[in-house]
């Protein structure tokens, strides 16, 4: 095996559009739950960064389609849904987001309504050209499979009919052929780009006087493509709108500009015309928090009526019953493909349980405890002077034999109404706490954390299940963990001579790799938009959760690695609400609906992304009840952590002792 190759080196490979690699690395596990993407109708595809949504949207691209054909690999979309043309626009890269950077008329104030008309006009021209590019690209080698006919007669009919259509207000009149049509379409968007970047003095009059209505030219183009026979009637046309959510940055240039442009996009979805279907990839809360207002109306988009929502996160999330949990299959498939592609000599095709083979089953909690507390195990017990000698002696003996059981025993005796056990020391297994299966299960991770804390050792992260728990249903987290673990293995000189087969990833290697991945994730938080404030908050609550779990010797609160807040309270404070949702949208916090222990207000619970758990030495799994807090406490955490400079309640800065820091010499 090539010991110098880390098959997980490029994290984003499956998200990239390098078509030849894509076909080898793409996993079709998500196709079935994302099938609406390939059916007529508008779709909003929701997913966190790294969830695989770009990967799914990439399947719509002609270059990917052609790469499958070249590689002679069956296109993963079911045949009955594979007659489609994919096209799209990237709202940032196309420069459409530059509208508003320069007034169309220098003597007039910025008029958002007018700007949104120009925005729509640019969008129309760009998308129509992209549809034609896609048809030409696919028509060269896939005309029969998709249903494309680019004969001279069909294209001539199409160009003639389209260029005379009223929707263009005469701009495309007298266009002779497809090449000229595309040239005119491109010239118009280029003129816009030149103007918006101050390369020409004025927008030409012929553009100002032929502004099109958003969406209409797109629909008319596709209709005429069908009528003229360029594409068959059953060929679907899908249009991707990329980086929709980044438009909100424009609000910093001019208030409400970004949201106005978003409402123009909504208008496309609101047309409810089955000729063309739009696809928008977005983060879950970004979409939910937006107004979804439709430009020029007071109406809003409605799910099911104007579009269908597909949530990749929900597809990959583990329910309590684990029914329909497909993430392990997805991860296993991706892992397999990476190794097949980059380490062909590893012969992984013949290994159905590859993840198990590489990462192993891991340790049981008891084994982990013994491994963590290798020497002087008695240290894990904090004996109190008031305890009977017999109980203290029992615990210390038990710690040497089974540190996990001893730690649980210590907590058991400290719990309410259970102290009598100290006077009646049990003699034989199973001890009372060992018989309480769920009590033990809920406290195992907290016990491990406390054992590690008392012995000043780290927690062990080892085995397939730990890797899945830390991945939290996110494929980027999973790949990141694999990347760092593999990296550690490659650095490890102990196995250099025997690197002929799959790696042996013992618990030292896996733990170290996991810690490196976790640290990297934490350090990278600032690289996201609003990441600085999120990082400060995560640092605060991560440290708080660690203290919660280590200081709780009774183990009464094993679920205090998360917090729960009343939704109504949260939504009454838009700044905090937005902050938490932004952090969740960027994948640093995890949000869950919370069914509280007592009937009352509806709550939401929040945890760190599991991959951050090793950095803060806290459990990755979520058990029992999280901390119940008020919005005031949350506000206090935000100001204490300096994520917010001012309290949202008092509007005053937290008073604290000034640290003068390093003084200058002069």
């Amino acid at each position: 095996m090539d010991v110098k190759t880390n098959p997980f080196h490029e994290l984003y490979f499956t998200d990239s559009i390098d078509s030849n690699e894509f076909v080898r690395l793409f996993s079709d596990v998500l196709i079935k739950p994302s099938l609406p993407l390939f059916k007529p109708g508008n779709v909003v595809l929701k997913g966190l960064p790294g969830s695989g949504k770009t990967m799914m949207l990439n399947l719509l691209k002609p270059s990917i389609r052609l790469a499958y054909k070249r590689a002679n690999i069956t296109f993963p979309v079911p045949k009955q849904f594979s007659k489609f043309i994919g096209s799209g626009i990237n709202l940032i890269r196309s420069s459409i987001s530059d509208f508003g950077q320069r007034p169309i008329d220098q003597n007039k104030k910025t008029d958002l309504n007018e700007l949104s008309i120009y925005f729509g006009d640019f969008l129309n021209y760009w998308i129509v050209r992209d549809i034609l590019d896609s048809i030409q690209e696919l028509g060269e080698s896939m005309s029969d499979e998709i249903g494309i006919n680019l004969s001279e007669k069909t294209t001539r009919n199409f160009v003639e009919s389209l260029s005379n259509d009223d929707c263009w207000f005469g701009y495309l009149e007298k266009t002779k052929n497809l090449s000229e049509l595309k040239h005119k379409l491109r010239a118009r968007t280029n003129t816009y780009r030149s103007f918006l970047n101050f390369n020409i003095e004025e927008l030409p009059v012929e553009i100002k006087e032929s502004k099109t209505s958003i969406g209409m030219p797109i629909i008319n183009t596709v209709q005429k493509l069908r009528e003229s026979g360029v594409i068959d009637y059953d060929v679907q046309v899908f249009v991707r709108i990329d980086q929709y959510e980044e438009l909100t940055w424009l609000d910093f240039s001019f208030p409400e500009m970004g949201s106005t442009f978003q409402s123009a996009i909504h208008k496309l979805l609101a047309m409810r015309d089955s000729t063309v279907s739009f696809r928008i990839g977005t983060r879950p809360f970004d979409w939910q928090q937006g107004s979804q207002q439709i430009l020029g109306t007071s109406a809003q988009l409605e799910s099911q009526r104007n579009y269908i929502e597909v949530s990749i996160d929900e597809v990959l999330r583990r329910s309590e019953s684990q029914v329909g949990y497909i993430f392990p299959k997805f991860a296993e498939d991706i892992f397999n493909r990476r190794l097949q592609t980059f380490l062909p000599s590893s012969n992984v095709e013949s290994k159905p349980q590859l993840l198990n083979e590489v990462f192993g089953d891991g340790f049981s909690a008891t084994e982990k405890a013994k491994e963590i507390a290798k020497g002087s195990r008695e240290r894990i017990i904090s004996a109190r002077p008031t305890w009977p000698e017999s109980w203290t002696s029992f615990l210390k003996n038990l710690a040497n034999e089974d540190p996990m059981s001893a730690k649980l025993a210590e907590a058991w005796a400290l719990q309410k109404n259970k102290s009598s056990i100290m006077d009646e020391v049990p003699i034989n297994h199973p001890y009372p706490w060992e018989e309480k299966k769920y009590w033990v299960k809920e406290r195992t991770d907290q016990a491990l954390l406390q054992i590690a804390s008392r012995t000043r050792q780290g927690i062990i992260w080892y085995g397939r299940d730990d890797i899945f728990n830390l991945s939290g249903g996110n494929i980027l987290s999973f790949l990141s963990l694999c990347q760092h673990i593999w990296e550690v293995w490659m650095r490890d000189s102990r196995h250099v001579k025997v690197r002929s087969d799959l790696p042996e990833l013992d618990h030292y290697i896996q733990t170290l790799g996991v810690l490196e991945a976790s640290r990297k994730w934490f350090e990278n938080i600032g690289s996201a938009s609003a990441g600085k404030e999120i990082r400060l908050f995560i640092l605060f609550i991560g440290s708080l959760f660690y203290r919660n779990l280590t200081d709780d010797e009774r183990m009464s609160y094993p679920g205090w690695n998360g917090f729960s807040v009343v939704i109504e309270e949260l939504e009454s404070n838009p700044k905090i609400d937005k902050f938490l949702k932004d952090a969740a949208d960027r994948g640093y916090l995890v949000f869950r609906q919370h069914t509280p222990k007592n009937k009352g207000n509806v709550r939401s619970k929040w945890y760190l992304n599991p991959i951050l758990s090793p950095y803060f030495k806290i459990p990755a799994i979520h058990t029992k009840e999280p901390m119940y807090i008020t919005i005031q406490t949350l506000d206090e955490w935000l100001t204490k952590s300096k994520a917010f400079e001012f309290s949202t309640f008092t509007k005053t800065k937290r008073s604290e002792r000034k640290d003068p820091g390093q003084q200058t010499l002069f």
């Binding site: 530059d98 910093f252 800065k653």
Partner: protein, 310 residues
């Protein structure tokens, strides 16, 4: 300064949180070389009262020790390009044609279009760009909260076709760049990474950390690392010229490196009409740097002759 053809200059700078923002200005004032000065005070979308206090401190110094003909304009980091360009056109309309631009504390979003419009000005006689390096940078993160990968205002190419040579300046904070290298069909493209050499500690470690970070997303071949003296503007400009096959190949730039390196990219992009992309941070460390080391001056236009032409 005596060797330059002009005796008096119009100065354009940025009053920021850092001490170095006034170094070049103070030198020019003390040598009685300025006709007038315009400073931009740029407020970021995400900042604390500490930012404001530190800028106020420098602003007070300006009014205490400066010249009479001084103008301080309020700007916002993400304001529309139109506001930036209107402002520079106003500055140019009042200028003597001898201009000194201090880029030490100007964000790229500002100084790139400013240089472009200064160079377009037909009344321009002499144009110097000055840069004051700090004594030291903060050991903490310098900047955060980047915008998405987008072009710097007015630096966009009409004819981008995906075959451009991508030239990336290597610096301290690769904000958002890894995502771009990983997702933007970068695997097969021609990339060059301009590496400041000799950087000297602690810059060496931070620049290598930058490379290590981005190499997680795209493998970097050692032949793609181009070592340049990041204080030598002519060397960097010529190197870019060579990397683009003497200007025959189209280029796109990603200026993440030291300011003089970004300046070389800016001058080249102005001439070649190349696109410049960046992930503009929207939050800066108020203690970004301390002190001033040396101030470098680069002649761009002398006696109406642009020294950086293709």
């Amino acid at each position: 300064m005596k060797r330059y053809p002009a005796n008096k200059w119009d100065f354009l700078g940025c009053v920021a949180t850092e001490e170095r923002c006034l170094s070049a200005y103070n030198f020019l004032v003390s040598n009685n070389l300025l006709l007038g000065a315009t400073f931009y005070e740029i407020v970021d979308p995400f900042e604390t009262s500490e930012h404001g206090q530190m800028r106020d401190r420098n602003r007070s110094k300006l009014s205490e020790e400066g010249i009479e003909n001084i103008n301080i304009e309020d700007h916002k980091l993400l304001e529309s390009s139109n506001v930036i360009i209107s402002s520079i056109l106003t500055f140019l309309s009042k200028s003597s044609g001898n201009i000194i631009l201090d880029i030490s504390c100007f964000p790229k979003r500002f100084f790139f279009p400013i240089i472009k419009f200064i160079l377009r000005n037909s009344q321009l006689s002499n144009f110097l760009v000055v840069y004051s390096g700090p004594h030291s940078y903060s050991q903490d993160r310098l900047s955060d909260n980047p915008q998405p990968w987008m072009n710097i205002p007015t630096f966009i190419s009409d004819e981008e076709d995906g075959n451009e040579v991508s030239i990336v300046g290597l610096g301290f904070m690769p904000l958002g760049l890894p995502d771009v290298l990983g997702t933007d069909n970068s695997q097969g493209k021609r990339f060059y990474f301009m590496f400041s050499f000799p950087p000297g500690p602690p810059f060496t470690q931070r620049t290598w950390a930058f490379i290590r970070e981005i190499s997680n997303y795209r493998k970097i071949d050692t032949r793609e690392l181009i070592r340049v003296d990041s204080s030598s503007l002519p060397e960097m400009f010529d190197k870019i010229h060579a990397l683009t096959n003497n200007g025959l190949d189209k280029a796109i730039f990603a200026p993440f490196g030291p300011k003089p390196m970004s300046l070389a990219m800016c001058l080249y992009a102005c001439q070649s009409k190349s696109a410049v992309y960046y992930t503009q941070p929207t939050s800066y460390n108020p203690l970004y740097s301390s002190g001033t080391s040396t101030t470098l001056a680069y002649c761009i236009v002398i006696n109406q002759r642009n020294l950086y032409q293709l």
